[in-house]
Amino acid sequence: MTAVADSNEMVIKTRATPEEKRATFIGLVLIALAAFTLWAFGLGVEPGSESTFKLSLPQARFEDLSWTVDSRTVALITALVLGFLGGFVLRRSHLKRTNLALSAGLVLFSFAFLTWAAVDGSFSLVGMLKSTVVLSVPVILGGLAGLMCERVAVINIAIEGQLLTSAFVGVIVGSSAGIWVALIAAMATGAILGAVLAVLSIKYRIDQIIAGVVINIFALGLTSFLSRRVLTEAPGLNSPGRFSSIKIPLLGDIPVIGPMFFDHSMFVYITFILVIMLHLGLFYTRWGLRSRSVGEHPKAADTVGINVYRTRYRNVILGGVIAGFGGAFLTLAQVSRFEDNMTAGIGYIGLAALIFGRWRPLGVLGAGLVFGFARALQQKLGILGTPIPSEFLSMTPYIVTLIVVAGVVGRARPPAADGQPYIKD
C-alpha cells in the first residue's frame, strides 16, 4: 500500500523494444567498423599510396579501363561516413532505416577493405564481380530449392545432398552420353532425392531435419565412395564436356555490367529467369496462392478443397529439380570434373540465403549475391596475397552466413506451418 498508493507520481521506467535494442547494437557495430577502418585501412597505410581497380577483362573490346584512388583518402572518407551512419542508427529515430544504413555501411566497408588490399597494386574489380555472379548461382539455386519446399511447409535440409549427388551424376552421364543428357539426368537425380524427402516427411512424418540430414550423409558417403572406386579407376568418366559461355551481343560489351551479367553459361541466365518466374509465380498465380496457403495454414487450404499432400509432393519434387540443376552447374559449367564433397556446404549456405532472403525469390537472389561476393572476395584475396592467413579467408562465406542467420539482419516470419507435418484426421 505504501509505494503503490501514490503510484501516479512514480517514474515509469521504459524498457527498450527488441527493435531498439537491435538498432543500438547495429549502431555500435557501425561505429566499431568506422574506428577499425580509420585505424587499419587509413592510418595503417603510407600516405600517398594508391590503389588501382581494373574495370575490364584482358580481351575486352574497350581496352584497359581502370580507376586509381588514393588509398588513405578512401579509408578516411569511409570511416567518416560509417561513423555518421552509426550515429544515425544510434539515434533510433528512423528504425525502419536501420537495415538500409547497415547495408550501405557494409558495402562501403567492403570497398575500403578492397582498397586496402590493393594498396600499391592493382585489383581486378570486374573479375571479382564476375566471379561473384558465378559463385552466387549455386547458392541462389539452393535457396530457390529450399524456397519451393518451405513455402509448402517442408524444411529441406537435404539441398546439400541433392546438389552433390546430381553433380556426381552429371559428371558420369556427361562423360559418356553428352552434356545435355547429363543435365537431364542431374535434374532427375535431384527430383528423386526430393521425392525421397517428400515421402519421408509427408507420408511417414519423420522429423524433417533428421530426414534431410540422413539424405546428406547418404549422399556424401555414396558419392565419395563411388568417386574413389569408379572415377579414380576410370578417369575418362570424370571429364564431361562443358556448357560454354554465351556472350550476349551488345549487352556483353558494356563495361563492368557486360562481363558481370551478360557473358556466362546458360545456367546463369536461367537462374536469373527462374528467380523472376518464381517471384511472379508465387505471388500472382493460382499455383503460388495455393502453395503459400498450404505453407501458412494447411487446414484452411484443405477446407477449400486444396489437396495439401499433393501440393507438398509436387513442390518438394520441383525443388529437387532446381537443386539438381544447381548440381549440374557445378560439374558441367563451373568446372568439368567431380571432387569429393565438392559442394562444401553450399547447400547449407543456400538455406541461409533463403532465411536471409525472407522466403522470397528476390530476397534469395540478393542474399545469394552477398554470399557469392564473400566467396569471390576470399578467392581474389588469396591471389592478391594479403597478410591475412588463407584459413581465415576461406572462413569468410561461413562467417557471413553465421552473422546473417544469427539475426543481425533482423528476423523475418517464416511460413507459419513451416516444418509441421499435416495430419488429416
Binding site: S7, T17, Y284, R286, L289, A300, A416
Partner: protein, 505 residues
C-alpha cells in the same frame, strides 16, 4: 430442397463421438444444433463437410445419397461452413482468402485479381457485409474476419451453410448484427445450421432446435414451446442452476497493482498499452473484453511469462515487474492459464507428474537430485480426491482426461496452498457444466479465504456471475468499470467502443 443426415455414427478409438444421429434442414430454415462441449456437434459437422468419414450412416442432398471424402465434395454439393476457428490465411488479403481454391484466372494459372476483388465487393454489397477486399486478413477484427468467412462461403454459391459456434468470438452488439446477417441469408433461401451451446441464442434465432447429448440427438423442439431452463435440462440431462452462490465481497488491502503497463505481442504490437488496475484482497475482479484486446498478454506479463516494455506490477507492495514466473509463483500466486493444453499441462505426462509440476524441485517431492515418487503419489492421491478429478488412475496420461478434469488438475495444483492472488484466464473454457460449477465454487472459496482474484473470460455471462467488480478491456486499456448488476447491453457496448455505431448500422 433439403439436406439430411441419417443415422450418422462415428467411432473414434475409445470414443463413440456420434451415435445414430439424425438431422435435417430445408432451404429458408434455421436449425439450431444445441449441446454441451464434447456432445459431438463438431464431429457431426466435420462429417457433413467431408473432413471425417462416418463409421455408419448417410448424407442426403435433395433426397439423393452423397458421399463426401473431402471438403471439395461438400462444397460441390452446395454446403458451406463457417468454422469456429476461422479457416483464413492471416497473411493473405481478403480477396485472396475468398478466391483461394476457386481462383478466377486470366490465362493459364495467372489470377485475375480484379475479378477476385469484384466478387468480394459484389457479395458484400448484396448482403450488407462491408469489408475492404484489399485489407490484410490478420489486421482485421474478429467480427470482420467472420464476415470474410461468410463471403467465402457465399462466393461458392452454397445453399446450406453451417455456422460452428459463430458467436463465441463476438461482442453482444456484433452478435446482434450477426443475427441480422443470418436472417438475411434465410430470407434469401439458404438453409442454415447454427451450432451453439448458448441457450438464449438458439431460442432467439432458430426455427427448430435439435439437442445433442453424449453423441446422440436427444430431443427436437420448437423455440416457442420451451424456455432456457428446459433447454438446459435437455442439454445436460439434469436440472442445472448456473447462478454462482456467493456472499457480498469484503475488499481489504490492494494485493495486485498494475501501473501504466505496456506489453508487446508476438508481432511487436503494443497489445497492452498503458493499462492500470488494482485488485484487493477478498474481491473478484473480472475483465470482460473481446478476445485479442490484450488480455492474454496482460496475464502473461503479470505472471512473468512475457516481459513488459514499460510500467510496473506490484504484488502486496513489492515490485515484481521483472521477476521470473517461478519467483512470482513462489510469492503465493496461483495461475490458471488460458490454454490448458499449451501452458497449464504437459499432456504426455501423468496426472501425478502434472500435479507436482510446480513443486518437483523442492522437498518433500524431491531431495537433492532425486525425485521422491512416493511423496509425489501421496500428494496426487490426496488432490485427486480433494478436487474431484475423475480419472481411472493417477498414473494415466493427463491427455486422456476430459477437458473439465484436465482443468481440475490445474486448479488442484495451483490452489493447494494458501494464496494471496489468483489469476484465472478463461478458467472454464470448453468444459462441461458440472466442472464449471465446481471450479466457480473453488474460486469463490479462495476469495472468501482472503485472496485477491483476477478473472479473464470471453464469456460475459461468466464474468457477470463471478465478479464483484467488472472491468472492460479494449485496445490494451481498461475503458470502463461496471457493477456486476449492469446490463449485458451496456457492458457489450463498452467492449466494442467506437466500433459500436458501424456494426449497429
Amino acid at each position: 430442397m433439403t439436406l439430411e443426415l441419417r443415422g450418422i455414427t462415428k467411432q473414434f478409438p475409445g470414443v463413440l463421438a456420434n451415435d445414430n444421429v439424425n438431422l435435417s434442414v430445408s432451404e429458408g430454415e434455421i436449425v439450431a444444433l444445441l449441446g454441451e462441449n464434447g456432445a459431438g456437434k463438431t464431429t457431426l459437422m466435420n462429417i457433413l463437410y467431408g473432413l471425417y468419414t462416418p463409421t455408419a450412416g448417410e448424407i442426403l442432398v435433395d433426397g439423393e445419397p452423397r458421399v463426401f471424402t473431402s471438403p471439395g465434395d461438400a462444397i460441390d454439393a452446395g454446403i458451406g461452413m463457417v468454422h469456429q476457428h476461422f479457416m483464413l490465411i492471416p497473411v493473405f488479403t481478403v480477396a485472396e482468402n475468398v478466391a483461394l481454391g476457386f481462383e478466377p484466372l486470366k490465362f493459364l494459372s495467372w489470377i485475375d485479381t480484379k475479378k477476385a476483388r469484384e466478387t468480394v465487393t459484389d457479395i458484400s454489397s448484396r448482403y450488407g457485409l462491408e469489408v475492404d477486399p484489399d485489407a490484410m486478413t490478420e489486421d482485421l477484427p474478429v467480427g470482420i474476419q467472420q464476415r470474410v468467412e461468410i463471403i467465402k462461403v457465399l462466393s461458392r454459391e452454397a445453399r446450406f451453410i453451417v455456422f460452428d459456434e459463430p458467436t463465441s468470438v463476438l461482442t453482444p452488439p456484433e452478435v446482434d448484427s450477426f443475427f441480422d446477417i443470418v436472417n438475411g441469408l434465410r430470407a434469401d433461401g439458404k438453409g442454415i445450421i447454427f451450432i451453439s451451446h448458448k441457450l438464449s441464442e438458439a431460442l432467439e434465432v432458430a426455427d427448430r432446435i435439435v439437442i445433442m447429448r453424449r453423441g446422440k440427438t436427444v430431443a427436437e423442439v420448437k423455440p416457442e414451446d420451451v424456455d432456457e431452463a428446459k433447454l438446459a435440462e435437455l442439454m445436460v440431462g439434469r436440472p442445472v442452476d448456473l447462478v454462482v452462490d456467493k456472499a457480498p465481497a469484503q475488499p481489504k488491502d490492494v494485493v495486485l497493482s498494475v501501473n501504466e503497463l505496456v506489453v508487446l505481442d508476438d508481432r511487436n504490437h503494443r497489445s497492452v498499452d498503458g493499462l492500470s488496475l488494482e485488485v484487493r484482497a477478498g474481491e473478484i475482479v473480472g475483465i470482460a473484453g473481446v478476445q485479442g484486446n490484450g488480455q492474454t498478454e496482460l496475464v502473461e506479463s503479470i505472471t512473468g511469462i512475457r516481459p513488459s516494455l514499460a510500467g510496473l506490477v506490484h504484488l502486496a507492495g513489492e515490485d515484481i515487474t521483472t521477476r521470473s514466473p517461478r519467483a512470482i509463483h513462489n510469492r503465493d500466486v496461483a495461475h490458471v492459464p488460458e490454454d490448458r493444453q499449451k501452458r497449464g499441462l504437459v499432456l504426455p505426462f501423468t496426472v501425478t507428474e502434472n500435479l507436482v509440476l510446480d513443486s518437483y524441485h523442492q522437498p518433500p517431492i524431491s531431495r537433492w537430485i532425486l525425485m521422491d515418487w512416493d511423496a509425489a503419489r501421496d500428494r496426487a492421491v490426496r488432490l485427486v480426491e480433494e478436487y474431484d478429478v475423475r480419472t481411472p488412475s493417477i498414473e494415466v496420461e493427463v491427455s486422456t482426461l476430459s477437458g473439465g478434469n484436465q482443468q481440475k488438475v490445474i486448479v488442484a495444483r495451483e490452489f493447494d496452498r494458501p494464496v494471496q492472488l489468483v489469476i484465472g484466464a478463461q478458467p472454464t473454457r470448453g468444459i462441461d457444466v458440472g466442472s464449471i460449477e465446481y471450479i466457480h465454487s473453488r474460486i469463490v472459496e479462495k476469495r472468501d479465504a482472503g485472496a485477491a482474484v483476477l478473472i479473464i473470460s470471453s464469456e460475459l455471462e461468466e464474468i457477470k456471475a463471478l465478479s464483484d467488480r467488472i472491468l472492460v478491456m479494449r485496445g490494451g486499456k481498461i475503458v470502463a468499470e461496471f457493477d456486476p448488476s449492469a446490463s449485458v447491453a451496456d457492458i457489450g457496448l463498452a467492449m466494442l467502443g467506437s466500433e459500436a455505431e458501424t456494426v449497429a448500422s
